[in-house]
Symmetry: C2
Subunit: 548 residues, 2 copies
Amino acid sequence: MKIVPLGGLGDIGRNMMAVEYDGEMVVVDAGVLFPDEGMPAGIDFAIPNFSYLRDNRHKLIAVVITHGHEDHIGALPYLLSEFDVPVYASRLTHGLITVKLRERGLLKDARLNVVEPHSPFNIGGFRCEFFRVCHSIPDAMGIALGTPLGHVVHTGDFKIDHTPADGKSTDFSVLSRLASEGVLLLMSDSTYAEVEGYTESEQVVGEALERAIGQASGRVMVATFASLISRVQQVTTAAIAHGRKVAVVGRSMMNNVNMAKSMGYLDIPEGTLVSLSEARKLPLEETVIIATGSQGEPTSALVRIANGEHPDIEIVPGDTVIISASPIPGNETLVSNTINNLFRQGASVLYSRVAMVHVHGHASREELKMMLSLAKPKFFVPVHGEYRHLFTHAALAQSMGVPPENTFVLEDGDVLELDGESGKVVDKINAGHVFVDGRRMWEGASRIHDERRRLARDGIVTAIVTLSERDNSLLKPPGLYSSGFLGLEESQDLFEKTSKVVAGSLEQDGARALGLDQVKARVTGTVSDFLFKETRRRPTVITVVERI
Amino acid sequence: MKIVPLGGLGDIGRNMMAVEYDGEMVVVDAGVLFPDEGMPAGIDFAIPNFSYLRDNRHKLIAVVITHGHEDHIGALPYLLSEFDVPVYASRLTHGLITVKLRERGLLKDARLNVVEPHSPFNIGGFRCEFFRVCHSIPDAMGIALGTPLGHVVHTGDFKIDHTPADGKSTDFSVLSRLASEGVLLLMSDSTYAEVEGYTESEQVVGEALERAIGQASGRVMVATFASLISRVQQVTTAAIAHGRKVAVVGRSMMNNVNMAKSMGYLDIPEGTLVSLSEARKLPLEETVIIATGSQGEPTSALVRIANGEHPDIEIVPGDTVIISASPIPGNETLVSNTINNLFRQGASVLYSRVAMVHVHGHASREELKMMLSLAKPKFFVPVHGEYRHLFTHAALAQSMGVPPENTFVLEDGDVLELDGESGKVVDKINAGHVFVDGRRMWEGASRIHDERRRLARDGIVTAIVTLSERDNSLLKPPGLYSSGFLGLEESQDLFEKTSKVVAGSLEQDGARALGLDQVKARVTGTVSDFLFKETRRRPTVITVVERI
């Protein structure tokens, strides 16, 4: 058996894992990774590298999906445009995938299958079973792939919540049965492997929301993730309890609420949901607004409200804003600025640092131990998280009795080979980021992005030198043009001086005999050094030599 | 009396506060703010805006400094090159200022005064007294400015620690006496105003470090802030207890340790400190290395070690690395990457999320209440922190009995006027960021930085069009040059096409009759639209028209 992480190890997100046995390969999840500081500026997102799938195209028999978050389904459109392979997913996840593929015109040719938990089925030689786990989206699943060597169990993202918002707990009974049949390998969510204890139950959040909405004297706005359907349910339930109507603002939030409602994942009595314009006619203390923007996204409803730039909603004293989410790493500053601006506008603001209005969706250490105890795996591979989280989770598994030689902290591209007795990393294949930027895709770091970083730091100066084709003499003073370097006023004088310095250097001893490349190099060097001397900055310099 | 924040309200850092009474003005602190995501790329740091000081130059009689961190002293070189004004600071702070001014050649003309705590002195009509507070640097002070209206008390950055590393606690007795004499206004540190309870004592860290060093089987490396002298003391004490020698790595760390040792702020027996080359000759289990890099700074010792790029130190299995610091907001990703890489190199890594190897230097809510109880102020102005922290601190003060109308959440530039009875914001003066970028300084946002942001996102394309002066006919095909846009190979084809499109557009109906600006606009538009159509990206386009 081979286990090959193709994306997502060493990152939070962009998950994809290949499981191979007897010439057949099943891929678990196909997610995107959103840009962070470590990634080049200007990219839209990253997807896993499909090279290994291309090389093993004949083996690929299915994609199974744990849940409907973007970092688990976002790369499906890319995968399915290249590989004609069936996709298996739970009901809500299937709904979200359908929406995504329809937008891209890929739905018609896709082979999508809805899987019910607790109902094993065959994928080639694998006996596949989905089992419920709790996470911050409904219908999240762990996945077991049965093989003659034993079960390969992938938890997906999970936590253990005995009182989740939708009443559907992580399924211990299936896990116990799988353990009794023999779990060869457990791959388990490591995101919160550093955090002691238990993740708080959603029930606590429900109670906090109910209290906050009950105590609010005016309008209440709640910002959360568009995919966090259970939170929308909790807010709506609290609103109803306190005689308020609910308006949903923001396109993605509205789409998700409508979809979840029509599929039965939201239980909202007729007459509770109103449009924003209806809500605006109601007394403030009878309304709750649910909006996007919990991550401080600049174009979201909440951020425009916080900046006083929303066309329809203006903060008035007495408003309560609840940020029912925690910042994804990298978004801390955006979220903090949004909170600051809401306070400035006069709102009372509740957020997870000061009130229990959010819990995240990942297991803490005691829950991870519980998973290990239930699954009793022979081999262990921590998944989902940065290297530090994987390493810490592996150490936890060892402390629970998994032998160190059966514990593997893999990185993308490591090929782990397992037989029933022992395991070994036998190869390293081409995996890792593929960046998507408009219509372009490329692997790994790129010269372009070094250039962009440099442009962002010091801007650019273009020097144009027009020479006579006959004798390389200057036909006119060198011209200098810049972007992101100095203001127009400041640069005028400086560029006049620079032009003279460049002209001087080209009229020096023997410069007329220089070849084109030598002229270019000399001008670039002269401009760069002179500007550094004058400003202590090193803008990018492009030299264009025109010969007429 | 006037209170005017000139920098640092609404930010963590870059503090500066003017206190004015009877025609005399004292400034508290003069700090820098280091770049974060919200600030333009390429700047070095921001200093407070001195406009108000320039307008009131005749009133300015002194600068008093609470402690020696950069966000409290970093702007002094700028301030003192413009204003000839005496500076008052505690002994260690004075030492740090001296080093800073000497580097800039400003020491000779500076009028620096060392202040002992508990020893009131006069600054003009103000009766000034420094009192000890605990913070993450020795000799941190709160400052009281006595006036006929009562005391103005500024806490500086502080926490209340009954067992600090240097044994010097926050001075309750002075605070009680000031309260009994009458505190008109308290300005108090708000950084952790959202956090319930008490900040843990340094003693806990000392014990954790001692335990970690005692249990380590091999070499120990500790990374912390260069200014966190008390942490160096704790590490050294633990090292001695376990028979280890200590080597200090990194220029700023070495300078600070030497300075603190010579001034008596570090108590290290002869023979404990060794050079790195001496340490490398010792058995691994007999060494501790103290290094910079706790914030993941790319050129720091720890980061080079983590990346396997340090010339003298390589991680070997058995090494323990302790990150005795928490990430400053904005540095989370850098720190996390460093931890990941240390794990990859085979080190065992301890950091504040998994072990008590660091506590920060700011008061939590119970300590803030204590300060309010001790000082019993008539008026309250929260300082140090983002707006959300100031707002939350103000609400806390109100819950402690300060009347809402006596509580002021100020922003930079607000002029608060107080008499003995009431207060009011009477004006808004020019304050806020002044960005320092090499030798340039400028206020507020800048077009240059919008340009840089755009360059970073999509790169730049320069189009060169060479026209005949006579009839505007094209003398050669338009040339296109780029940086940060596409790779050379990819762009060649595209730019050939673009050139033809531009040429076509310039040969169209009537184009020859266009003026220079019109030609430019047409070329820029044509290039921009064509590239967007082909690539879905919008690089900056600069058009240069040469007429020969």
